[in-house]
Symmetry: C2
């Protein structure tokens, strides 16, 4: 073999293996209760309805569904997506829409389109690691912005200051990456006020906003807040927001289909990029989704999924209240939607180290918080998923998690946990 390392591009040298996907392999053992994945509950998948829709495709559209399709996306699916968005008050035309092979493809296309090596993306601390991985695979950098203590969006002062410093130092930012609705990993939801402030910031500084909305429809408590894409549409309509959506959370991830809504000029450029990336999204899957959407069952499907996750989220919060150590420095988010809770532990605990103990000693898994930072990670938090496990597993898993955390605190306070301290500071 050729010495592979000497042949790799600088892009490749900058790529990181996703900690989560590697971990998912480790925790596939049946004796481990895993809150690590980001998987929807399989009992929400409408198997019979999807089978019926697939059979309509075989009956009526087989020759088209089995052939190559256009890069822009299947005409039928696009028409259905436009209706779906209209029902939520988002008005788009055909040329504002591109069908993609899941949101992750969009997260890869945007840095490819905008970033030269060393260019910056502004993003939250923490933020979705799949977005960080994609940015790094083009040698992009991330200007990390902390959230407010209320978790209602960026600390806007910190944003202003960090950005001014970046510009002063000659840094070039191209876009702001945010997940305003039930963010991965922390489950936080941006307030209307903060969404408006971010849009104004983008206008003022000539930046795009990449608004990633995989969980937007998975709101099981409270009232929807307009997306930043909508706020731009309803206001100055400058077209600076690129909005990503997906069928992964509202229907089924195995469909690997999402969509991008953006200004027609941006969509045009993305189409050119996508041509060279995969020619077109899975044509059968697109026709199949179009037939499913035509039945109108997606709206009840979303309601059903929200009800399922509301119950599980409530139950998980109840179990955390019941079993976790009662301390001011042990706390967790109580999200109104999405798939994840974020648990913050005392600053002397490193969840990177805790994870190994949790798997080995208690057979319970989570994702250590450090993976959700581009640099200088906080190490005393973890992401746990409440959509995938059943109630029995949730109760038993939280019991185990609480035990390993209590033990860690106890060891620290009795002076035994000292070797981990520096990591938690």
């Amino acid at each position: 073999m050729i010495n592979l390392e000497t042949m790799l591009s600088d892009n490749a040298k900058n790529m990181k293996k996703s900690a989560i996907r590697e971990l998912l392999k480790l925790v596939a053992r049946p004796d481990i209760i895993s809150f690590a994945g980001g998987l929807p509950a399989p009992d929400t998948f409408p198997v019979d309805d999807l089978r019926a829709a697939a059979n309509v495709v075989f009956d009526k559209h087989a020759a088209k569904a089995l052939q190559y399709g256009t890069t822009e996306g299947d005409t039928d699916l696009k028409a259905e997506v436009i209706k779906f968005e209209a029902r939520q008050g988002v008005s788009i035309k055909d040329d504002n829409l591109l069908i993609v092979s899941g949101s992750q493809q969009a997260l890869d296309m945007i840095p490819k389109l905008f970033l030269n090596p060393g260019d910056y993306v502004i993003a939250g601390r923490p933020t979705y690691l799949g977005a960080l991985n994609a940015i790094q695979s083009y040698q992009g950098k991330v200007l990390g912005i902390p959230f407010t203590a209320e978790l209602d969006g960026f600390d806007m002062n910190a944003l202003e200051q960090s950005y001014a410093q970046l510009v002063k130092g000659g840094g070039k930012a191209k876009y702001i990456y945010v997940i305003p609705d039930f963010q991965n990993p922390a489950g936080l939801c941006w307030s209307l006020e903060k969404r408006k402030a971010l849009l104004q910031f983008a206008y003022k500084n000539g930046l795009f906003i990449l608004e990633d909305s995989p969980y937007r429809e998975i709101r099981f408590l409270g009232e929807p807040i307009p997306s930043i894409y909508q706020l731009d549409q309803q206001g100055e309509n400058r077209g600076v927001v690129i909005n990503l959506k997906t069928f992964s959370k509202i229907l089924a991830p195995g469909t690997r289909t999402g969509w991008i809504m953006a200004h027609a000029d941006v969509i045009n450029k993305l189409v050119v990029a996508k041509q060279a990336m995969d020619l077109c999204t899975n044509v059968f899957a697109q026709k199949w989704l179009a037939e499913y959407l035509k039945t109108g069952k997606i709206y009840d499907q979303i309601k059903k999924t929200c009800a399922n996750y509301r119950e599980k989220r409530n139950f998980m919060v109840e179990m955390l209240d019941k079993y976790m150590p009662k301390r001011a420095d042990v706390r967790w988010t109580k999200p109104e939607g999405g798939l994840f809770l974020w648990i913050i532990l005392p600053s002397f605990i490193s969840t990177d180290d805790l994870l190994i103990k949790a798997i080995e000693q208690e057979k319970v898994a989570f994702v250590a918080g450090s993976g959700f930072y581009f640099d200088d990670p906080e190490r005393n938090a973890m992401r746990i998923n409440f959509s995938y496990s059943g109630k029995d597993q949730i109760e038993e898993g939280i019991k185990r998690l609480a035990r390993v955390i209590a033990k860690e605190i106890q060891e620290h306070e009795s002076g035994k946990g000292g070797q981990n301290q520096p990591l938690g500071v």
Copy 2:
């Protein structure tokens, strides 16, 4: 809107819209006979068998098929692909195999993995434009190598000379891109001798070979020649060949699923790249293909497709013999497989110009040859597809094509076509 051009990456500025895909839109009019696309014949799609396989997935594997999958690919599909390859004498293990979202995704992953801006890929003149577009989207360059007059592979002297010159000038090549079996666009097939010589060249110079084999199984005449991947395996087994395969031509493009065979170290790096690109290939499609392959019907399916294309290819060659101007400088390839013929016209004809006349005056379309060159294109050739059209369309289309070519020759020889001459030289 922000001034988009000022925000684009250098990668994006280097991206080219695919001439073919743009053209496909133009020629969608029902009155035009198009030989431009590269579409399989829809009557070869085994709709009932594929429907049955999809229903097995809904019956037995719905929860898995609708969920996220691993980046490496579905275990069942990988096992079936390993069997499929074994039957052709290619022996691979699980860690030599990565399932991808169509071959085009692989053609995008390889330059991302290997090319820094300005790095070179060695490729034929002409070669597949989707590969060229992907290389350009990472600012890669192409060292174009002419084929021999016998069209049995690269002119190896030209390869040696061009490569020596590149190295002397400080240029860095990373891999050689070839389509040895029934190349797109010219339909040519590399001889065994030339395959061996290319492998030796790669060994000697420490280069990878990217062997793109979408048409390998679509051989309708003659005997199979070992792939370069096989030659390496059966010989020194240095693992320098990366082989791309796809279900698009042997089954149906709408499945958007292909596979990469390579050394395990290369596969490992590609898995990391793919994680950030789309997480995993369409999971439903993978399970569906696995169930279809389990029936063993793919082998008869390939035979049936080959028979279909053999008949059409023979008929198209017959029609060309019948209708085209009889001149030594009007000739075409007679491929033993694949989907395309390559027609070479007198050097004074530019097919870029001829295409417009063909569409407007005769309502027949092809792909101008110039699109298949990275630089300094030859302009007197065209690619025509024989898999998609029916026999009636083939006869009528070739008649029309012959008329527009004859007219062009006549005008040139009577002195009227002068304005096009410089382009054809």
